[in-house]
Symmetry: C2
Subunit: 276 residues, 2 copies
C-alpha cells in the first residue's frame, strides 16, 4: 500500500451506530459484510429507493441527493457514515470536510486492495455510468501508484439483472462477457467490482474472467479499512450491538424481495419508510 497510514492510537469506545447510505438496496451487501465482521456494532442503513438509481444521473443531481442523505444520518447521531454506493462516493471524493464525523467511501479502499493484489498493475474497473464517467477509481489508483494502467467499462445492465434475480444465468453471463472482454483483451490481472450490486454476480464474473484475474469487492475492502481504523484508534468501537435499522424513501414488494436476497444469509430487518 502506498498511502501512509496515520500513526496508531489507543482504541476507544463509542457506542453510537454506524450510518450507511446508498441510492437503493445494493449497499446492503456492504451492510451485510460489516454486520458479520463487526458483531458488536449497531447500524442505520438509508436507501434512497424513491430516487434510485444514482448511476445514470449527473454529478450535480447526485451531490444534491448525497447531501440530503448525510443530513438525515447526521440527525440520527451516527458516529460515522459509510457511503455504500460507488456513484455517490464518486461525488464525495472532493471531500465535504464540514461533516462532523468520519466519512468512508468505497472507492479508496477498493483502489488500495486492487493495488495490493495486482502484479502487472493493469487494473480493470466495472461500474455504473456515473462511476465510470467520473474516472473515480482511475484518479485514486493513479494517485496511489502512477505506474498503474486503468481500463474501465460502464455496465449499466448489471444492476437491473441482479434486481431481476438473473444471477447464475446464461443470459447474464453473455452480457458479462460482452462488457468484460475488452478489458481482458487489455491484459488486466485485477478487476474492481465498482458497484455494490456486483458481488451478487461474483460467480458469473469469475467464470468469465477466469482464474488469472483477481476480483476486488469493495464491501470487503471497506470492512478491512474500518477494522484497521478501529484497531488503530482512529474510529470508535462499540461494546454491544443495540440496533440494526433499515430506512428507505420508497417501499415496494419488489424492493423487499431484492433486498432480502442481497442480505442473505443475514435476515433483513423491517424496513422503515422515511421522507427526504
Amino acid at each position: 500500500v502506498t498511502s501512509a497510514p496515520p500513526a496508531a492510537k489507543k482504541p476507544f469506545e463509542d457506542n453510537r451506530p454506524i450510518g450507511l447510505f446508498d441510492s437503493g438496496i445494493g449497499g446492503l451487501t456492504i451492510l451485510r459484510s460489516l454486520m458479520s465482521a463487526l458483531p458488536n456494532e449497531s447500524f442505520i442503513y438509508l436507501g434512497d429507493t424513491a430516487r434510485l438509481p444514482y448511476g445514470s444521473k449527473s454529478p450535480e443531481t447526485i451531490k444534491r441527493y448525497v447531501k440530503q442523505n448525510m443530513t438525515l444520518l447526521g440527525n440520527l447521531d451516527v458516529k460515522g457514515v459509510v457511503v455504500a454506493c460507488n456513484s455517490a462516493s464518486t461525488v464525495l471524493l472532493d471531500k465535504d470536510t464540514e461533516f462532523p464525523v468520519p466519512i468512508y467511501n468505497v472507492i479508496e479502499p477498493g483502489a488500495e486492495s486492487a493495488l495490493q493484489v495486482s502484479t502487472t498493475k493493469r487494473i480493470g474497473v466495472i461500474g455504473t455510468n456515473a462511476t465510470v464517467h467520473a474516472h473515480a477509481y482511475g484518479h485514486v489508483l493513479q494517485k496511489l501508484d502512477s505506474n498503474c494502467t486503468v481500463f474501465s467499462r460502464a455496465c449499466p445492465l448489471l444492476v437491473p439483472l441482479v434486481e431481476e434475480g438473473w444471477v447464475d444465468d446464461p443470459i447474464t453471463n453473455l452480457i458479462i462477457y460482452r462488457y468484460v472482454s475488452p478489458l481482458l483483451a487489455n491484459g488486466i490481472d485485477t478487476l474492481i467490482l465498482g458497484c455494490t450490486h456486483y458481488p451478487a454476480l461474483r460467480g458469473g464474473i469469475g467464470r468469465v474472467v477466469g482464474p488469472t484475474v483477481s476480483l476486488v469487492d469493495s464491501s470487503e475492502a471497506i470492512t478491512d479499512r474500518m477494522l484497521a481504523d478501529m484497531a488503530g484508534g482512529h474510529f470508535g468501537k462499540s461494546t454491544q450491538r443495540s440496533l440494526i435499522r433499515v430506512l428507505t424513501t420508497d417501499v415496494s414488494p419488489v424492493f423487499t424481495d431484492v433486498a432480502t436476497r442481497l442480505m442473505a444469509p443475514q435476515l433483513l430487518p423491517n424496513i422503515e419508510l422515511v421522507n427526504l
Copy 2:
C-alpha cells in the same frame, strides 16, 4: 370499440401548447408521434430524469411525482396533458378531476386499440413492474370487454436495454423471448407494448412473437385518440406550431444520447433543466 364516444361538436381553435410528461425520456416516442401527426401543434415535454424510473417504485411515490409534474405543466398554460408514461398513467386511472384541462393517459387508448385488432380476445401486456403489478391494462380491458382474457408480464430489463442502445441485438432478442414466451404459450393474438420505451424494440419483439400476433403501440393509439377528439370538437386545435420545448429535471450526456436516438428521425430540441 365498446366505449360510447361523446357526441361530436364543432372543432375549435386553441393555440396553447400540449403538455406531456414522463419519468424520463421514453415518452419522447409519444412526442415524436404527436409531432408528426399534428404538425400545427406546439408541445412542452417534461422528463423527470432526476427521479427516473417510476416503473420500479410504489404507487404512493409515483403519485407524488405525477402531481408535481402536472403542477409544473399547468403553470406553463398548456391546453391538455398527455401522461406519456405507462407507470404514471397507472396511478392516474383513479382520475384527478380537479385538474383544469383534459388529461390523456396511454392506458385507455392502448386497451381500445388492442380490442379492435384482437379476434381471439386473448391479449398480452408487457410493461414495467409498476404497470404490470397495478393490473392497469387488465382493469381497463375487462371494463371495455368482459369476455377478454389478459396475460401480463413485467419486463424490467427492456428499458435498460433500450437505454444501452442494444436494439436489434441477439442478447436483447433472447431476453425478449424469455419474457414473452409464457404469453405466447397462453395463445395471445395481440400484445400491448405497455411502456413508452418498447417501440424502440418493435423489430425484435415482432420477430419473437411472429406474424400471427399483432403489436399495439400506445404512442400510435394516443395519437389517434387526440386526432379524433380534435375532429370531434372535444379538444382544441392549433393553427400554427410556435414552440417545441423539452424540459428535464436532470441533464447528462448519456440521457442526451438516448433521447436523440429515441426522437430520430426528428431532431431533439435543446434540453432545458428545471427543478422539481
